[in-house]
Amino acid sequence: MKLYLSTAPHIRSEQNTQSLMRDVIIALLPTTAAGIFFFGLSAAMVIALSVVSCVLFEYLWQRITKQPIRISDLSAAVTGLILGLNLPSTAPWWMPVIGALFAIVVTKQLFGGIGDNFLNPALVARAVLLASWPARMTGATAYAIPTMWSGADAVTSATPLAGYEASTMDLFLGNIPGTIGEVCKAAILLGLVYMLVRKVITWRIPVVFLAVFAVLSLLVGENPVVELLSGGVLFGAVFMATDYTTSPMTPNGQYLYAALCGVLVCVIRNFGAYPEGVTYAILIGNIVTPLLDKYSRPKLYGKPKKEKKEAKANG
């Protein structure tokens, strides 16, 4: 008889990296479906290309550098899906591929692979594409007006943030121009509820992010409901700011990080040169994350008061 030996604990929770990533993909499915519904087959093509090239780049990199192949943890697939949803449906075939290259190879693998990248891979890819091909990403001809399968993607327009007029209901349901994933707010909220129920994420980051953003928008004289439903703030707060690797791990750090993101989105939208600032806001939040982790350590049970005073005295 062979007996295994190990230290405690001998039982582990059922959640593992793969199951968590699978849950994120499931949470993204309504958004993906809505995007394809509104923008047609071209959206499906962009998403598929993005997912396939992300997984392929991860596989190739790990193969070339002789690392264990980890594509089965599905994290590359999640990155690919989020990247695809961050692109306009009019994107040519090479854009998701270049984006995937930046996301997986430059941002993720060069910094050490899963868990070690300090920036959100999909967001870096989006930022690179945004800076390199601004007209294709946000220009007046970038966004297709939803066609509901009725015709080709011939008609293009600016987003509501850049002057497109839309009713609140259209903003909520997604009958507006925009990137594939950001338009349908109803689907994003469905994904949020799923992730909360499955305990994939906690409420802290999305709720604080959106609440701070809404309050600030009100203060600068905008309609917070329209602001929340416009652009990618909801998608960013739910699916991108909550990325495990690039967000703080302590509860207090998470509050601060989310609040910072909310403030930055509002500042960039209202006072910056870009109509939309979610990408950069979250990237800046990512950069601050190690600092927040360092200074927001949880309170130790029974920490002696004397030590606290000494720590204060020492600065």
Binding site: M1, K2, L3, Y4, L5, S6, T7, A8, P9, H10, I11, R12, S13, Q15, N16, T17, S19, L20, R70, D73, S75, G113, I114, G115, D116, T202, Y244, T245, S247, P248, M249, T250, P251, Q254, D293, R297, P298, K299, L300, Y301, G302, K303, P304, E307
Partner: protein, 477 residues
């Protein structure tokens, strides 16, 4: 600072309202809607499988005596006892076969009558081989002469109680195996106003304490009263998780009319039975980092220990048996009253043998137990359970990289940041690990349980804690 004071006042107020409502209406339902005694962090291991307790939960305690026992001399924390019998000697039940050594020493008693067949080093409970006395049982069940009780716990002279506990060889039976008479010796300048009996049994799989409370509630309450009288303490609390309503009812019945004895219903959450968590939940006090519970005038001990104390005081009976849960992949999951020193293979045989090919045998619960290297090791004073895992569940899982999901931070009941701590521990950076409070880690296993990357967090903290303790000892000498 002020915020935490405010929180303390509010939570204290809620506890007061709870207690008042209970006394006024004597209704559990009313109290149900108020927050239960609990703590921060923690996990719900195997929540959907009733913490793994279902198979043995409703099986009454039954006796099992094997034909050979192998009694380790080092069942308690502190120096192992010195054997005082020879090979070939005839011993009786309750006879001292190991004499205490050093300040934390305890006597060891024979748990059967019969012939000593071997005194040898063997792997018994811990990792290192230790001296064990093997006795062949003659089934005459002869007790040694001179065992007599001290009398009723309510009337006995309080000064005889602690010596009686020491002579009975009682150590903490919840797992830590700290000698109980030392725990009950209050150091100079300290006071004690609350005794907490831990009947939470938050560990997975184990039901031994539960059965004890259901079947012998009187013993538990007697033991608590004995401790309270020995230390002249006015308040004694028996803490039980809310997934054991039968135990709550039985203990409540037994405790009614007993002076200063309360029952506290705790939320089912792991590690609710942790010493620091219990004290926080019941008294609202926090044991300062690096200090013992007596610092906040509290002593925590296990319900099984209390029952052993009752036996020691009332009957003068030494600790020769204990209730142990045998569950997992066995045909008849049971709660057995086993003689100390029973070989686990015999105990598993009594439970109908393996129901599947075994992969791992764990002494204790799933969160803190230790894996048995073979089937020949003995049941010690602190062995609350023997859990058999099948091959599939036993296979250790491969670590994958940390994805920084923060589940370890959420789960830690002490407020550590396990992911960062593991980084220092793996590097062997003892100074940084100490600065990040590794010595405060209670090794509950919550972080490892929760980790989706299956990282061995608790294991590295355990190794680091031992390394730091070793270094400190080396510096001292």
């Amino acid at each position: 600072m002020q915020l935490s004071n405010g929180c303390a006042i509010i939570s204290g107020g809620i506890l007061f309202i709870r207690a008042t409502l209970y006394h006024l209406f004597n209704s559990e339902r009313l109290v149900l809607y108020l927050p239960k005694y609990s703590f921060r962090g923690g996990i719900h291991p195997m929540h959907h499988e009733h913490e793994g307790k279902l198979p043995s939960r409703n099986v009454p305690i039954r006796d099992f005596v094997s034909d050979t026992v192998c009694i380790p001399m080092g069942m308690h924390l502190g120096a192992p006892s010195k054997p005082c019998v020879q090979k070939g000697d005839h011993v009786k039940i309750g006879q001292v076969i190991g004499e205490p050594v050093g300040g934390l020493g305890l006597p060891v008693h024979s748990s059967v009558s019969g012939e000593v067949v071997a005194i040898e080093e063997r792997i018994s409970t811990g990792a290192a081989p230790a001296l064990c006395v093997t006795i062949h049982n003659d089934f005459q069940d002869e007790w040694v002469e001179g065992i007599k009780g001290y009398g009723n716990v309510e009337t006995v002279d309080p000064s005889v109680i602690i010596p009686a506990i020491k002579n009975a060889g009682i150590c903490g039976m919840g797992g830590a195996s700290f000698p109980t008479h030392v725990k009950l010796s209050i150091p100079e300048g300290k006071t004690c106003d609350t005794i907490i009996l831990n009947g939470a049994e938050c560990e997975t799989f184990l039901t031994a304490d539960f059965r004890l409370m259901v079947e012998y509630p009187g013993k538990v309450v007697d033991g608590l009263r004995a401790i309270m009288r020995a230390l002249n303490v006015k308040r004694g609390v028996i803490a039980i998780e809310d997934n054991k309503p039968e135990a709550v009812e039985a203990i409540r019945k037994a405790a009614s009319g007993r002076e200063g004895v309360e029952v506290a219903v705790m939320r089912t959450k792991y590690p609710q039975g942790g010493e620091k968590q219990l004290i926080r939940a019941i008294t609202g006090r926090k044991v300062p980092s690096g200090k013992l519970p007596i610092e906040v005038s509290t002593i925590v001990t296990n319900v099984a220990t209390a029952a052993a104390i009752a036996d020691a005081v009332i009957d003068g009976r030494p600790l020769i048996d204990r209730i142990t849960t045998i569950t997992g992949c066995v045909n008849k999951p049971s709660n057995l009253r086993l003689r100390i020193g029973t070989i686990i293979a015999d105990a598993i045989g009594e439970c109908g043998g393996f129901s599947e090919e075994p992969g791992k045998i764990v002494m204790g619960g799933g969160m803190t137990g230790f894996a048995a290297p073979n089937m020949e090791i003995s049941v010690a004073k602190a062995s609350g359970g023997i859990v058999v895992y099948n091959e599939k569940k036993a296979r250790s899982v491969e670590e994958s990289p940390c994805i920084r999901c923060a589940r370890c931070v959420e789960a830690c009941p002490i407020g550590l940041d396990p992911y960062r701590l593991k980084h220092y521990c793996d590097k062997g950076d003892l100074e940084s690990a100490k600065a990040h409070n590794v010595m405060d880690c209670i090794l509950c296993g919550c972080c490892s349980y929760n980790c989706p990357s299956r990282r061995w967090l608790t294991a590295s903290f355990k190794i680091t804690k031992e390394a730091i303790a070793l270094e400190a000892r080396r510096k001292k000498s």
